[in-house]
Symmetry: C2
Subunit: 194 residues, 2 copies
């Protein structure tokens, strides 16, 4: 992906803020222009289309995910600790940047544009792979029971996180996501025990 100009960065940042504030539906060119005090036409000097903006947002999330997950599994830390870190990081992250959840969980809106779906799937895959690596390690060190296939464990863990976040969003953010995340983590750790 090409480097972003300052203006492009500003637009992307504003777009993410808009999504945080009013969910994905709040992201319109008009709102975007208003937010950075430009005209709508000016936006099109920097991005070809709205889909382009969304793609750029997804790319930036991918980058963040890659940075976070890159040396997650190689570190010399126990698998259970790694899972704890993963949980903590994610719930912290979603609580701080609801826009990410809003975008990643908005698959239904993207279904008219396959490129967007593909990029969301890539983000999911990044997380699945990191988690799969951790689980493999945990099985080897006998921290994690080996009677359950990796693939299913990955889906169970990610599904649990997602559902917790979904309920948080639907409730209008009316509970403490970090606290609920901690409870979920403890339960998952208990479940994984051999």
């Amino acid at each position: 992906m090409a480097e972003l100009s300052e203006r492009q960065k500003q637009i992307i940042e504003a777009a993410i803020e808009l999504i945080s504030e009013k969910s994905i539906q709040g992201l319109t060119i008009k709102n975007l222009a208003k937010k950075i005090e430009l005209t709508e036409g000016a936006i099109y000097r920097h991005f070809d289309s709205k889909v382009d903006i969304l793609l750029t947002i997804l790319f930036s999330f991918q980058d963040e995910a890659k940075k976070m997950l890159n040396d997650f599994c190689v570190a010399d830390i126990s698998a259970l600790q790694l899972i704890e870190n993963l949980f903590q990081h994610h719930f912290e992250y979603f609580a701080k940047k609801p826009a990410v959840a809003s975008v990643i969980f908005s698959e239904s809106i993207f279904q008219n544009d396959n490129r967007l779906v593909v990029e969301v799937l890539k983000i999911l895959d990044l997380h699945e792979q990191a988690l799969a690596c951790i689980i493999k390690k945990g099985k080897q060190t006998n921290e994690i029971k080996s009677t359950i296939a990796e693939k299913e464990l990955v889906r169970i863990i990610i599904g649990s996180i997602r559902y917790t976040v979904t309920k948080w969003r639907l409730s209008g953010y009316d509970f403490d996501l970090r606290k609920e995340g901690k409870l979920m983590l403890e339960s998952i750790k208990e479940l994984l025990k051999p």
Copy 2:
């Protein structure tokens, strides 16, 4: 909820079909009118608004869920068997009626209308309660390990189902949902063992 006229039933059915075919975005009054060979105005003889139509759809899903779940837990069947039934029914159901998943998973679209969110939450609650009842039973009969709180187990199980369905939808329905559901079920059963 008032009884539905024949015409209303026809409209709701067509609406659900539209959602199945092109996801929630495909549900427009124009498409709906075309599908049942009426004019758009005629639709408004039977429903006040589009939100009204969506609410009616959600009510019908609620009814279905209630019927299905009502005597789910009281039956004289083992908890693990009940969970198996629940899984089988759900994956079967989603595979047959993708519209349901499309609506229930479209929370992001509903966020501009709180009534819709509330009704989606009710459907989720119905399922959570049924599952909570099963788990409680299973703990009593020692079929399910009692070291993990009910609430978390419920979220883990529903989260696993939802994530499996989400990946199925994003993949363009390109894997066998029932088969993956079966694998997930086996893993969950294994996890729940005391």
